[in-house]
Amino acid sequence: MADSIPSATPRPEAMDRPVLGTLARPLAYVLMLGLLGLLAWGLAQVNAGPHQAGLAPDFTLTGYDGRTVTLSELRGQVVVVNFWASWCPPCREEAAYLERTWRRYQAQGVVFLGVDWVDTQKEALAYIDEFDITYLNGPDIGTRIAQAYRIRGVPETFFVAKNGELRGVHIGPLSPPQLDDKIEGLLAEDPDA
């Protein structure tokens, strides 16, 4: 029967083998302290928050089409830096709007940079194709740009003024007329301010 009551075969007292090796306890403590240290470090990172002010962290983006651009070389122009990914549904919601707005403001010297975060080339190119995106989009190799801007996810859009300073971040997809308003505001700024 699967459930017979067991008869006792108790362990004799003489068999008093050490239950834990001498290394196990200190190791457990070390691992625990290591985990706590990791969490403390993560907390410090989080409390720093996304970059929102000060000089925009510089970076060089190599697009999927081979073009290269460095942010600091765009001083004097308004730059919109958009972090996205092909697997990100909210990014799709703003993709068409971003492209339309880019085309509208292109002549006024506004630059759009699309930073593709944690993505695969094939899917990214399909996404760019799907939305007919013409501004520069490139992969964020090593997620260095994302980490410099301390993004927490996608989509996030950073606004860089003509003098190279960050003018805030929009977390989540942009809807009309948010992007237009922001760009108009930045265009109105004096580049030497």
Partner: protein, 691 residues
């Protein structure tokens, strides 16, 4: 005025918690029953005071007292009363208060239970539990206070929130509140957070009993397990329900057609559930054979620790996810508490390690004990894999400077086989005898289910040749189903033969007399149904997308969607709705009229996609409105997911809860245990060995 009362009640609750902690610890250490009784009363009183605080906050949310910063944050004129009440847990401060309140309810109930059998544990249970209580109430009171008011400084034109008036500040009331995040304005708001919190906070009870048992040297006994069995089951049931409701909610509002994304916060809920499930099973071995004692204590400590860890990463955003709470000073306080709890629990566990020696040896790997040991290992392995995947981004960023995110493929590949192993065990364990199982008898018992399931798998494989992995998965599910049904059949047969009862009566009596076992089997059936839902989601999902003009169709599988028209109109609580009308055809027959929508919340500037779903047992046809021409509404883009077998997951959840109710329902024998009393009987002799 009301906010002040609420705040004052918080102060009282905090003071009482601290007093109870100190009184319990001192009273226990020095053998002062009167002090312990006083500590017990203090613990009991925390709940009424927190109820006052919660009541004050809910009333303020309903009445839209926009002078309170929290109300101005999460409530708004446009929200219905239902949403205003749920806004209690819609933001950081309120949800922390809600958490503390639920925990205090558990503690009050524990204080009221009969302590005759384990009075010596009482001081330490109080001390451990109220220490946690003091932490959470303290955090609400000092760091994340829902009763903070808005103050306007006319000099600097700033508006700040603070509990007490800052220098130069004038009282300020906002015109309207921000309102709940649109994703939270959903019926799921009444289900998922409360059940999840009831699950998480409930584990403080078995944890406190476990630590108390360690501290009093009674951990080798299984009294603490028997005392807390129903509490653990209760908390586990709610955590399970919370997981299921969370998945359902994500399915309804996040618009990606799935219900489990291996998001860090989802994982944070899953991990304590895994260890708690292992614990619920593993304690049976300690009760029967006095083995796996170390396992049981580690599992309960892990469950509680992972629950704390879970709420820590959710609230601080240390690992980013969909559940975004605003950053605050919460992090460091939580971190210290977690550090103290983890290290303290480890310390106590190590000091009393010798108490946890097993009473018997494992005689054979193929035995009931061996199978349960294996399930512990599997559950722990899955927990470790999920934990590793969750913290890996942090680790990689620290070590290499590059944040490597771990996505679903890792979790699925690593945990999939381990879960399959658990399913397998779930089916076979009841067939395996204690101490040693002969393989031939096992084979004889299992032959019908194995052959039956192979037949099912063969038929399935022949019909769906392109999905080989699914054949194995379906074989597993049908095998375990037959094994579980076999258990019922065996039991019913035995009763029919020995008592001459008709089968239905036999079935009812069988379950009624062995609630724990058969309730457990019903839970297993629920788990199988959920597994089936996962199988459908993993192997058979289809999707398609297309742009349609009016009258055009988009096909997926045997279904096609025909676009009729698009409407735009304002909705309740400040949203602009764009709604598509579409007809769903199965082959040539129309089966449904679907209305997928996109709601745009004007104030928050946030869109929410509302899918239209046609549900059957076979699958869900899940339709999303993805895009449209802004002028003229002529052509519209739809995305359709075909989600086979998904409704089995939700039904399975229901069956699981029924199973838990059966397993946990008190019998007449337990009724005497459950007598509650208000006034504790003071021990006449020093509290050793119980009353």
């Amino acid at each position: 005025m009301l906010a002040e009362i609420g705040w004052f009640a918080l102060v009282m609750a905090f003071g009482l918690s601290v007093y109870a902690t100190l009184g319990g610890a001192w009273g226990g250490a020095r053998g002062r029953p009167a002090l312990v009784a006083s500590a017990r009363n203090a613990c009991l009183l925390v709940f009424p005071f927190l109820t006052i605080s919660v009541g004050a906050l809910v009333y303020s949310l309903l009445r839209l007292d926009f002078s309170l910063a929290y109300v101005a944050d999460v409530s708004s004129r446009a929200m219905s009363n239902f949403l205003r009440v749920t806004a209690l847990w819609g933001g950081q401060q309120g949800s922390l208060l809600f958490w503390a309140w639920l925990m205090s309810a558990y503690l009050a109930a524990v204080m009221l239970r009969r302590w005759d059998g384990d009075r010596d544990q009482l001081p330490y249970v109080i001390a451990v539990a109220t220490l946690t209580m003091a932490f959470f109430v303290g955090v609400v009171l000092f760091i994340s206070n829902p009763f903070a008011r808005l103050w306007h400084n006319p000099m600097t034109q700033e508006i700040v929130s603070a509990v007490f008036r800052p220098a130069g500040g004038m009282p300020y009331a906002a015109q309207d509140g921000g309102g709940l995040n649109p994703l939270l304005r959903h019926f799921g708001m009444i289900g998922h957070p409360p059940t999840t919190y009831l699950g998480f906070t409930g584990f403080v009870v078995p944890y406190a009993f476990g630590i108390a048992a360690l501290l009093t040297g009674k951990a080798g006994d299984d009294a603490w397990i028997r005392s807390t069995r129903r509490w653990t089951l209760f908390a586990w049931a709610f955590l399970s329900l919370g997981l299921i409701l969370g998945g359902r909610w994500a399915y309804d509002v996040l618009g990606w057609g799935g219900f489990w994304g291996w998001d860090p916060v989802e994982n944070a809920m899953l991990m304590p559930w895994l260890t708690a499930t292992a614990f619920l099973h593993s304690v049976m071995i300690q009760e029967r054979r006095g083995m796996l004692k170390i396992w049981n204590l580690i599992l309960i400590v892990l469950t509680y620790a992972l629950a704390l860890f879970g709420t820590f990463i959710t609230r601080t955003g240390v690992v980013g996810s969909v559940h975004a709470f605003a950053r605050s000073a919460l992090g460091p306080a939580f971190f210290v508490f977690i550090g103290v709890t983890f290290l303290g629990s480890m310390g106590v566990l190590f000091r009393r390690w010798k108490d946890l020696r097993g009473e018997h040896e494992l005689e054979s790997a193929v035995s009931r004990e061996g199978v349960f040991l294996l399930q512990n290992l599997l559950f722990l392995a899955i927990t470790f894999a999920v934990f590793w995947g969750t913290v890996f981004p942090l680790l990689s960023e620290l070590a290499t400077g590059t944040k490597i995110t771990v996505g679903p493929p890792y979790f699925k590949q690593v945990t999939g086989p381990l879960f399959a192993g658990l399913l397998f065990l779930m089916g076979f364990a009841p067939l395996i005898a204690w101490r040693k199982q002969g393989l031939r008898t096992l084979g004889k018992a299992a032959v019908v289910p194995v052959l039956g399931s192979l037949a099912v798998a063969a038929i399935w494989g022949w019909a769906h040749r392109m999905h080989p992995a699914s054949i194995f998965a379906l074989w597993m599910v049908s095998l375990v189903l037959l094994l579980v049904l076999y258990e019922f059949w065996k039991g019913i047969q035995a009763r029919v033969r020995s008592h001459g009862e008709p089968p239905w009566t036999a079935a009812l009596r069988l379950v009624g007399r062995n609630r724990r076992r058969y309730g457990g089997y019903v839970v297993h059936l629920g788990v199988l149904m959920i597994a089936l839902g996962f199988v459908g989601d993993t192997y058979f999902k289809q999707e398609t997308q297309g742009t349609l003009a009016a009258g055009e169709r988009l096909t997926i599988g045997e279904y096609s969607l025909e676009f009729q028209d698009l409407q735009s109109y304002p909705g309740s609580d400040g949203r602009e709705i764009v709604e598509a009308s579409a007809r769903l055809y199965r082959g040539d027959k129309q089966v449904a009229d679907l209305h997928p929508r996109r709601d745009f919340f004007v104030v928050q500037e946030q869109p929410v996609t509302v899918p239209a779903v046609y549900s059957t047992f076979e699958q869900d046809v899940y339709v999303l409105l993805v895009g449209w021409e802004p002028i003229g509404f002529q052509s519209t883009t739809f995305k359709i997911y075909l989600n086979p077998l998904i409704n089995w997951a939700w039904l399975g959840g229901g069956v699981l809860i029924v199973g838990v109710l059966i397993a946990g329902w008190p019998t007449r024998a337990t009724a005497s245990e459950l007598t509650y009393q208000l006034r504790p009987r003071l021990a006449r002799t020093p509290a050793v060995g119980g009353g």
